[in-house]
């Protein structure tokens, strides 16, 4: 019998009775062939590898990360709560010492879900990784977390949620936004005034191969992680960089994904996108699981794998090499933000968000207090085609006395003003998450 070097937990929840629509890429059969492959390989018989049932996330779990408008129930279904609960379970079994590592193979995905949620965008409603991370912090006192997003699409939702959080290092490597949904993820997106350089984007050119991805991991991601020294490393494991993916243009392979995970050595992986459900997912997932468990994966290969076809164009290699200095600069020596306010002053950001799946248009004004002492009081005013003007207030973890006081003041005056349909509050100091 094969023995895993790392005790490994798998949370496999394929949601065989849930789809966005019958022919949508995010449909019932998405993980069917992955399950077939894992079963046929005898993965669940590997000594040290155990399958777990997901938790079901609670409304509080969601409200710890998101401002849901008008409320959690209106923007989620049971499938979302189970998917997020799968990520929570993955974290719990690692923290409780039941396993060394875990992988939540759950759907629907979450990394396009932003702080403010009015509906579904990019196949996502709520952000599984963010919900998991805030659970870890609330229940286990974890502080510093690194999220490495290897989905082909820029994880604009995760970036948005962690934008102002100096203790979450968010690194996204993705197909260049100039060529793919959602269009963001340029390297000059580097985080808010209190968390500058903690958002790292590595936009890779179309047709990047294993060589380019692994170079990015070795030369950009790992040096940054080594410096950041996170307590937990999370892989936001999208699988649509695969050469056979129908909605992207990259040339990454199952071997590449496995090698990436071996190098990154994440504590927890959470499935994101990936829609080549027959040609890629069965092999990529197998590769990731074996690599995380510390089991030989050298024989894992797609049936139509052709090394010659997947050789990287030298121009791409050159481009990525040049990218290295830029990306390292963002973390180690971030350029100053334009119009940076003084300490104690508020910096605002206006955003228009389009929910492609649900056809919702949202307008937001975000405010963050530039704070010397803490991550800064955060608030967000929002309205959309489905929701009247509403407000979200977040008092950050370890907030300073002044930010805490300002937060309470803001809440009271907002209530008094009567102009908001819903007010959502995240108070990380008191660990209270509620709507009024």
């Amino acid at each position: 019998m094969i023995k895993a070097k790392n005790r490994m937990g798998l949370i496999f929840f394929p949601a065989y009775d849930w789809a966005i629509s019958p022919s949508h890429p995010e449909r019932e059969e998405r993980l069917l062939y992955t399950q077939d492959q894992l079963r046929e390989e005898g993965v669940f018989d590997i000594d040290g590898l155990v399958e777990f049932k997901p938790d079901i996330a609670t409304e509080e779990d969601v409200m710890r990360s998101h401002f849901c408008f008008p409320d959690v129930e209106s923007v989620t279904t049971e499938s979302h709560m189970i998917s997020a609960g799968g990520a929570i379970k993955a974290a719990r079994i690692v923290m409780d010492g039941q396993v060394d590592k875990s992988f939540a193979l759950v759907r629907p995905p979450g990394h396009h879900a932003m702080k403010s949620v009015h509906g579904n965008r990019g196949f996502c409603n709520i952000n599984n990784e963010a919900i998991m991370i805030e659970y870890l912090r609330d229940r286990y006192g974890v502080k510093k977390v690194a999220v490495v997003d290897t989905d082909c699409h820029h994880g604009d939702g995760s970036q948005d949620i962690f934008w102002n959080d100096p203790d979450v290092l968010y690194i996204s490597m993705h197909q260049d936004g100039r060529t793919l949904y959602p269009g963001s993820g340029h390297f000059d997106e580097m985080g808010g005034p209190n968390a500058l350089g903690k958002t790292i984007n590595i936009p890779l050119p179309p047709e990047t191969c294993d060589e380019g991805f692994l170079f990015a991991i070795d030369e950009m991601v790992m040096p940054i992680i080594r410096d950041f020294k996170p307590e937990i490393i999370v892989n936001s494991a999208g699988q649509d960089n695969h050469y056979s993916d129908p909605i992207t243009n990259m040339n990454f392979s199952a071997q590449g994904y496995a090698a990436l995970n071996e190098k990154l050595n994440p504590d927890i992986a959470v499935l994101e996108g990936g829609y080549s459900i027959q040609g890629a997912l069965p092999y990529v997932n197998l590769g990731i699981i074996l690599a995380m468990a510390g089991v030989d994966y050298s024989h894992v290969r797609e049936p139509n794998y052709n090394a010659a076809m997947l050789k990287q164009d030298p121009r791409i290699t050159d481009y990525i090499k040049k990218l290295k200095d830029v990306v390292l600069g963002v973390y180690f020596n971030p350029p100053p933000i334009e119009n940076l306010p003084g300490y104690g002053q508020v910096m605002t950001r206006r955003k228009n968000v389009y929910y492609d799946t649900d056809g919702i248009r949202e307008s937001q004004v975000e405010s963050i207090v530039r704070c010397r002492e803490c991550a800064g009081l955060f608030s967000l005013e929002t309205y959309s085609t489905v929701c009247e003007l509403s407000l979200g207030i977040e008092i950050p973890m370890n907030a300073c006395a002044s930010c805490r006081k300002e937060g309470v003041k803001l809440l009271n005056s907002a209530k008094k003003s009567g102009k908001y349909g819903t007010i959502q509050v995240i108070d990380r100091v008191k660990k209270e998450y509620y709507r009024t």
Binding site: Y16, S23, Q35, G42, F44, K53, E302, P303
Partner: protein
């Protein structure tokens, strides 16, 4: 009076061989003898002869047999050389699954859809055939990855050895379950015990003829059901580890189980535990493991813990525990160290053999450990009950936490809450009150529990499970384990598949000569729309259908 039918059941266990003859009105005769492991056949024949001594052999309509023959052959490694030919394609290195002395990997590949990706290396097969012939190997196992989705390559491997083989196990005929490593192990074991098993079956059939018994003969399986002996000749591996199942089926035959329940078989060394949901014994999700090798052999969900009448008592500081080992017999039975039954004797809960010896033993042991004797005896008993309860709870927990794959099951999945605890085994009566308190459930102790295993074997009906896999895009339908493969129209639906699965299963059973069995039922069924690019490419339909374990007759 009309001649009524008789049913003969036989359980060859590790210690005892039990035989019963059951008639319309109940137990007719029973017989118990120590199993002769060196000559199982003698044990079996002797027991049949004894139990049927006073019966009219022509009335015996059915002989059901649970035997350790295949299990022991595997455990003791008395196995025939088997040439295993495995073709795996990409994935985990098949070298990890080497088994036996003659394991060959052959190039070839089938993907999860059952599409042949790479043809078999015919040259390599011819070379292996040459070597096997030289080494005089006559038993083979053909196993390919995803053969349950496309058995062509396994069939081709078998053809390559046709001329020199006495027997070949086809991986896809063992089970519809996806699991290549288990398929390899199970196919190997099957071929390795095939000859020995068939010799045994020949001898049994001949012996029965000699006694004038013209009954249908069935072999008990680990899932609590039987298979006709003719069928078992090709899948002897299905006869392994049927012992615990015999006891469970005994409870089914002796009690009218309809609710969620627990079965405890408290013996000398161990307590065996089984669970029932709505009166049906639970089946292990995957196959049973033998010699720490997981197989595809379906089995009941049973667990065995080291709590029994002879479990040794330990004291560490103030804490008293028993088992999991035993140090010979109890002092009541002439042993040297106190065991659980001695504690029960001491407290007057039972009166078993030499009560004075037990009292002496417990008193001395308690004095040595500086603890009051009554306290020691109570604590030992309490520990035993607690340990049993703990294990049952762990099994229930495991079921509650078993992964599910739909939102519906996640939210509506059935949980098991035992209402009755059925207890058998020597110390059963002594445990009644304590178990009632521990479980907060009714405790029932069936009569005749000392031969429940043989009764269970006698009255078990035939079980079978099949998996249908249909791909309307390719227009194919497969039921690998019963060798069904046919074309289907593109408009084939899940309803058609459910109907066909039941029909084909029943046809298969009647072809095996099984009559008057329980109804088949669909236990899993799903249909997925497959999409290739942006276009529908048909449906992926899967149906699992079974005849569940049960007794064809009750002795309540």
């Amino acid at each position: 009076m009309a001649k009524t039918d008789l049913y003969l059941g036989l359980d060859v266990g590790g210690t005892h061989t039990d035989a019963v003859l059951v008639g319309e009105t109940g137990l007719v005769s029973h017989y118990k003898a120590v199993t002769d492991h060196a000559n199982l056949l003698r044990s079996v024949r002797g027991a049949i002869e004894e139990v049927a001594r006073d019966a009219d052999p022509s009335r015996i309509k059915r002989v059901n047999l649970s035997t350790t023959l295949s299990t022991n052959a595997i455990i003791e490694n008395k196995l025939e050389d088997v040439c295993v030919i495995a073709s795996s394609g990409p994935g985990i290195d098949p070298g990890n699954f080497r088994i036996g002395r003659f394991f060959y990997e052959v190039d070839g590949s089938i993907d999860h859809r059952g599409t042949e990706v790479k043809g078999l290396d015919q040259k390599a097969l011819a070379k292996i055939a040459g070597e096997a012939e030289k080494k005089k190997i006559r038993a083979f196992a053909a196993v390919t990855k995803f053969s349950t989705r496309n058995p062509d390559q396994e069939n081709a491997i078998a053809r390559a050895f046709e001329k020199i083989s006495d027997f070949t196990t086809f991986g896809h005929k063992l089970s519809g379950q996806l699991n290549f490593p288990r398929r390899v192990v199970t196919a190997y074991f099957n071929s390795a015990v095939w000859r020995l098993y068939n010799q045994f079956a020949d001898a049994i059939e001949e012996g029965l003829r000699g006694l004038g018994i013209e009954a249908e003969v069935n072999i008990l399986k680990a899932d609590g059901g039987t298979m006709p002996v003719a069928v078992s000749r090709n899948i002897p591996v299905e006869s392994i580890l049927s012992g615990p199942a015999a006891s469970v089926m005994g409870i089914v035959a002796l009690c009218d189980i309809t609710r969620d329940s627990v079965m405890l078989d408290i013996g000398g060394t161990t307590t065996d535990i089984a669970l029932f949901a709505d009166g049906v014994p639970l089946i292990e999700k995957d196959g049973i493991s033998l010699q720490s090798s997981p197989t595809l052999v379906r089995s009941l969900k049973t667990r065995s813990i080291g709590v029994g009448g002879d479990s040794a008592i330990y004291v560490e500081g103030k804490s008293v525990s028993i088992g999991p080992d035993r140090k010979g017999p109890s002092m009541a039975a002439g042993g040297k160290e106190p065991a659980l039954v001695d504690a029960l004797n001491y407290r007057g809960i039972i009166e078993y053999l030499d009560v004075a010896a037990s009292r002496r033993g417990i008193t001395d042991f308690a004095k040595k450990k500086g603890i009051a004797a009554a306290k020691l005896a109570d604590a030992a008993f309490e520990f035993a009950v607690g340990r049993i309860k703990q294990e049952v709870d762990a099994m229930l927990d495991e079921i509650r936490n078993r992964p599910v794959y739909t939102i519906h099951e996640m939210l509506e999945g059935k949980t098991i809450a035992p209402e009755v605890v059925y207890v058998m085994g020597g110390p059963a009566r002594a445990f009644r009150e304590s178990l009632e308190n521990a479980f907060g459930a009714k405790v029932e102790i069936p009569k005749n529990f000392d031969v429940a295993n043989a009764i269970g074997a006698a009255l078990a009906r035939t079980t079978i499970e099949i998996e249908l896999f249909a791909d309307t895009g390719k227009g194919t339908l497969l039921i690998p384990s019963i060798d069904v493969r046919r074309k289907i129209p593109s408009g084939y639906t899940l309803k058609d598949a459910e109907r066909d699965a039941k029909k084909l299963l029943e046809e298969h059973l009647s072809a095996m000569g099984v009559q008057a069995n329980a109804d088949s039922e669909v236990i899993e069924s799903s249909s997925f729309n497959m999409i290739d690019g942006y276009y529908s490419s048909g449906k992926d339909i899967r149906v699992k259908c079974q005849v569940k374990p049960g007794s064809f007759k009750r002795l309540t």
